[in-house]
Amino acid sequence: MSMLSDLALGLSVALTPANLLFCLIGALLGTLIGVLPGVGPVATIAMLLPITYTLSPTGALIMLSGIYYGAQYGGSTTAILVNIPGETSSVVTCLDGHPMARQGRAGPALAIAAIGSFFAGCVATLVIVLVSGPLVALAQAFGPAEYFALMVLGLVLTIVLARGSPLKAVAMILTGLLLSLVGTDVHTGAERLTFGLPLLQGGLDFVPLAMGVFGLSEIVSNLEKGEGAKGEMIAAHITGLMPTWEDIKASAPAILRGTALGSALGVLPGASSMIASFASYTLEKKLAADPSRFGKGAIEGVAGPESANNAGAQVSFIPMLTLGIPSNSVMALMIGAMMIQGIQPGPMIIAKQPELFWGLIASMWIGNAMLVIINLPLIGIWVRLLNIPYGLLFPAILLLCAIGVYSMNNEPGEVLLTAGAGVFGYFLLKLRCEPAPLLLGFVLGAMMEENLRRAMLLSRGDPMIFFSNPLSAVLLGASVLLILITVFPSVKSGREKLVED
């Protein structure tokens, strides 16, 4: 079978001592920058690009990919331990991962995130081998109208995400949409809500916003509760590092479903691995026997989204390797790395450079295995981090956040922006408004608007474009259905209340 021989070729390349070493370096470095809030794979890979010039092309790509998926692992650690999402995809991990940590179950949360990611990584590697062709066709079937419909579905799913009042969730989504308008409009070049500040002309960035509304506001509220003053620990008692059988039984189906979602959505350019992670969260919450556990430390709420985002991250290599089209900025840098080596990414790469293509894919599987081996023993150390008195821990977190934000653009203004977002997040907390729908509205809103207007330009102002093609019609139909399902129970209970009165 040619596929087996391809894989064997890949393994023979990936298992050479030099390439194993590059894989390990990448995975380690990735875990490290993932754990540090704000320091992301984009900045790291950009800085390392010139060094890769001196490496072999395969070694260079193996190392850079290791950084990318290593960062996905590390990012969930920060999300779980200190409630700071370093990447769009770990926003959802905060929702149940951090409550678990507060209950002293940080160990199981970290372990299940690592196990879920490993499983998803293995499956995604197989997906790349088996179905990259059909998946590319799927990506090409998505035009502006289909993307718009997908984003609408995404926003509707977001409402389900929220704990508490759906009305507040809608308000948060709308606020997120408003925030996504800030900056120069691509379609008209108009400056919107920039108040003449050069800093805002390019729009708000996700990292300062997420760090502020999740992380900083969390710190403020912890201090307010007096946890800092008394030197209390976040998790007073730690109940075991490894997940129990119950945990694993609860997580297994979530991991399977998350992996499937991530593998399907990962191929779409844009925020696909994030959409996959919260689609998975929504699905788990809908399927759960007791949805009210979600947001209070449900382990499925960590297992599903973590698997989905890792599968999505890995599958996003498909358009890059087969079409030369990057689906996110890390992939754009990978293309840069290939071009530095004189390799033109695109459909010819499999035929012309089979040892590079298959070696890279085999290395992803090896790298994922390495990450589990690196991460599982580290869990004890990470969890012990929570035992540091909060009075010492929070200044360190603040400092790391400030460094992380500053290092993105070397722009002091963005550090101030993060602080502002922190104040804003604190008010949201006081008003009992969830920041997650806000961030998702922010990320999806920009893409939704762009694709809506692009689709309308292409159809010359005819809105039928959204319904005349089956894919977008189905997605929009599903959104309407979801809204009805969400609204009707509350309408019913509202009526019942009226009757009772």
């Binding site: 754009a332 033109q344 292409l458």
Partner: protein, 320 residues
């Protein structure tokens, strides 16, 4: 107090300071600010040249990304930096077009910066999906005439070089193709290759790679004549005389940077652009080296500003 009588002394002191700093320059690390996203061609080329400059100047030359605020914040940082030759910004062919579109920017390109040298250049490319019925550039114009307002082209934001080339072709050929804005080339490519958008106007850096892989078919390129790296692709100006543009990268510093510093840098960059490994890597990105004197660079920017203003006024393009 500064009185008119004292001015000559102050001027003399300033000149001395300039001369002294030129002799000891560089005293410390030199920072090259890139105002576009990591991994783009300004970043890649900037880092290539920074590595060579570090060897030749004996002080570290580093690239810093500041893409905040659509690049305005980063450029402004260099405009306001000490004019002592330790801060540079990479300007691109898109810089004058943005200035032409937004005259109210917080700095004036032609007076607030001192040009050092242009680095490299590439044309814009008009291409279609390999499955497209459009045969060549003349056929494109004929089809656009036969179906007014029907053809679409993918472009970058309003006022980008992509957009300006599209509109320039519209003006000279008397046609009315509709530009569809995209954030970056990849999503535009997806829609062009699936046939949702009829043609792609994009940078040589992006297009030549896809053309070599058979994923796009070139109709024309925008160099003033034959382009050395793609001699088979006809020029737009073969069909529409006078329509040509090159995008470029170039170094600039704060105004009042001592001329000897600028001249030294200019000489070093010229020498670097002569190196074979640099030439090869530029060629892989579809770029040709294009060193220039500071005055030539300023002249290029002024010419382009005037040209873009003409197109922007003619088509009523506004940032609003």
């Amino acid at each position: 107090m500064i009185t008119p009588a004292r001015l000559p002394f102050i001027a003399a002191a300033l000149i001395c300071a300039g001369a002294a700093s030129a002799q000891t320059w560089p005293e410390r690390q030199i920072t090259i600010t890139v105002v576009t996203a990591a991994g783009g061609s300004p970043d890649t080329v900037g880092r290539m040249i920074a590595a060579k400059l570090t060897e030749r100047l004996g002080k570290p030359v580093v690239v810093e990304i500041n893409a905040a605020g659509a690049g305005i914040a980063g450029t402004l940082g260099v405009v306001r930096s000490q004019p002592d030759g330790h801060n540079m910004v990479i300007l691109t062919g898109g810089t004058p077009s943005q200035q032409a579109l937004r005259p109210k920017q917080p700095y004036d390109l032609t007076t607030d910066l001192a040009m050092v040298t242009t680095l490299c250049a590439y044309p814009m490319v008009v291409s279609v999906s390999p499955k497209s019925p459009i045969k060549d550039f003349k056929d494109l114009i004929a089809r656009a005439k036969a179906n007014p307002g029907k053809l679409t082209y993918s472009m970058n934001a309003i006022g980008s070089l992509h957009h300006l080339l599209g509109e320039w072709i519209n003006i000279e050929a008397g046609i009315d193709m509709q530009g569809i804005p995209y954030r970056g080339s990849p999503p535009a490519f997806m829609d062009v290759s699936s046939g949702r958008v009829d043609l792609m106007i994009d940078t040589g850096t992006f297009s030549f790679g896809q053309i070599a892989q058979g994923q796009l078919r070139a109709l024309a390129q925008s160099a003033p004549g034959k382009y050395a790296l793609a001699p088979d692709v006809p020029a737009v100006s073969d069909t529409l005389p006078g329509v040509n543009m090159m995008s470029w990268l170039g170094f600039a510093m704060a105004k009042n940077t001592p001329r000897p510093v600028i001249d030294r840098l200019n000489t070093e960059v010229r020498a670097i652009l002569e190196m074979d490994d640099i030439k090869n890597r530029l060629a892989e990105m579809g770029n040709v080296p294009m060193p220039s004197s500071p005055d030539e660079m300023l002249g290029r920017i002024k010419t382009e500003l005037a040209q873009w203003k003409k197109i922007i006024d003619a088509k009523g393009i506004k940032a609003e």
